[in-house]
Point group: C2
Chain length 329, copies 2
DNA sequence: TTGTACGCGTTATCAA
DNA sequence: TTGATAACGCGTACAA
């Protein structure tokens, strides 16, 4: 040991790996590291992994399917013990995922769950989250509520749309196809569809955005069209787009516990890697989102409906507390 | 080859590494991955690395020196070919860096350059950046300009303070110790010192923040004390804190080309790894920052000085173009 | 061109 | 307990 110090010796982890057939390494495939939501998720996963002596390798795919394929291949070559995966929008093609699985590398999907393939997954309860949020808008008196969806080939986008429809239906409002705009989770789309909505003759009194990135685009549209919020329109979004700043308007949002999602996913993956959980069936962990009511949903339509359960708008000050999501069951 | 496909075969990169004594892997040590500036930097480095067939492993240190030591040790064990390093605030202790270097692993420092050890580095020209920005405030008519510095044990924090002082001196303004507040690049400090400044009897007419994170804290202080910007005070910051949104006020900032910094650092590191650059002396790459003039510096003090080079405030609309930094030489 | 043996640094096995 | 030795999967050098 003394000699080791003297010689500035460091054991070779790669030689060790070759021998023991483990790398104590987890791969994390992310679509966009500059998205604060994912960045936070990485921290959760990394903290959990490091605590259990695993190294976490994070790689971006930039939402590109071919890059995802390439990355998965690299990770296989590197013999990572398991993979945390945020899938890029794929046209139902999961062959690369399947072949990685076949190579004996466990995969846990995060946030987005691809349809058509059985995978472990960790995400937020999308249905409940958007249902609670849209319900909040309805309680404010809105009835013409638009939604800009994500890519509907992803389960989470579907779930958020579903929650929107559920909330409307339970309030006796029939979903209007004119108010359901199909987006894709990208900034430019939030801008384009948002502008389209805002320039309509009969524009909705409230808009629900399916993720934080599209909300950034929507804000641009809002500003360009000269509409004010909460003066002219209300809106709310899935994802809490920014760290709470003093910027105006503060945005009502369905906040996802990003750090916890990452940590839970890493935890589950390590269980799989170590064979501590029976592989029989797939595990789906759903965490609770939290509705943060802020200024952007403070606008109340001029002709509110006289409904018995109507709730007057709460205070909209900057330091107003957040409200825990109410369960629908 | 056909058989390889058939058997779902993937060559073992670790066995290969053991043989060729290379891992084709670069380590990237970051203090905070949730900071958008670093996130962007990672993308630049990753893109560059991947393009040259290197894998990039990114790890957080949370600004903790002991974690930095541990991470460097892990990276050594993993036999990474080189390391990109954003140092945590260290009390002048660079022993772990030196021993990594001694083990034959090249290191390129990014953003922050530790004093007291000769290292390759890539960063922005801190002096010029803050000098240009403070000069801009002076041109707006400000003379009582405060600065909240970073940890002065870091070269970049020193440089930014130096640029501030240079700008004042060239305008014939004597730096006032009362207006130089020693910070540490952290949000809470921006809040605390900002509040202190804003509540002073004789408060400055403008404030220069040494980084984006502290600016977030400053905004909180601004809001809590009820001061308005650009109504009551002007401010500007090093770092462009957020992706350009429509939030108000838009912040005048010294934007650093984060992506390019990351890419340049990776490029230089790979040169070192491949021995394509003579190791004789240390290389320091300095990129040009860009001053983005926006709303937050629009406030003009009531008693502007009648100086010949005084420039009236420009338009402060949201879509105003940015202005390239003017060189001081 | 095709084949064979050895080395890379570590762990694991088996014998002493 | 200690010490020698065979794997681990791939390059590489040398022989056929």
């Amino acid at each position: 040991m003394d000699a080791a110090k003297d010689l500035n010796y460091n054991p070779s982890h790669i030689a060790r790996s070759l021998s023991v057939k483990r790398t104590d390494t987890l791969g994390m495939v992310i679509t966009d590291i500059t998205n604060p939501f994912f960045a936070q998720m990485i921290r959760g996963a990394e903290d959990c992994a490091l605590k259990q002596e695993y190294l976490l390798i994070t790689i971006n795919t930039n939402e590109q399917l071919d890059r995802e394929r390439q990355v998965l291949s690299v990770l296989r070559s590197r013999r990572v013990d398991g993979i945390l995966l945020v899938v890029a929008p794929n046209g139902g093609d999961a062959s690369h995922i399947r072949s990685t699985l076949d190579a004996g590398i466990p995969i846990v999907c995060i946030d987005r769950v691809p349809s058509g393939i059985a995978l472990d997954s960790v995400s937020v309860d999308n249905v409940k989250g958007s249902q609670t949020c849209v319900r909040h808008l309805i309680e404010r008196g809105h009835r013409r509520i638009a939604i800009i969806t994500g890519s509907l080939s992803l389960e989470n986008a579907k779930g958020r749309l579903q929650g929107y429809e559920l909330a409307l239906r339970e309030a006796g409002i029939k979903p209007d196809p004119e108010l359901i705009l199909k987006g894709d989770f990208r900034e430019a789309t939030g801008y384009r569809l948002g502008k389209e909505l805002l320039l309509r003759q009969e524009r909705p009194t409230a808009v629900f955005l399916s993720n934080g990135v599209m909300t950034m685009g929507f804000l641009r549209a809002l500003y360009e069209t000269g509409r004010s919020c909460p003066g002219d329109i209300a809106f709310a979004t899935f994802d809490d787009p920014q760290p709470p700043t003093i910027f105006r308007p503060q945005i009502t949002a369905v906040a996802q516990p990003a750090y916890e999602i990452g940590a839970a996913a890493a935890e589950l993956l390590i269980q799989r890697v170590q064979g501590k959980v029976k592989l029989a069936k797939r595990i789906a962990i759903r965490l609770e989102p939290e509705l943060k009511i802020r200024e952007s949903s403070a606008f109340v339509p001029r002709e509110p409906l006289a409904q018995s359960h109507l709730i007057p708008p709460r205070g909209t000050g900057p330091h107003q507390g957040s409200e825990r999501v109410r369960h629908s069951d």
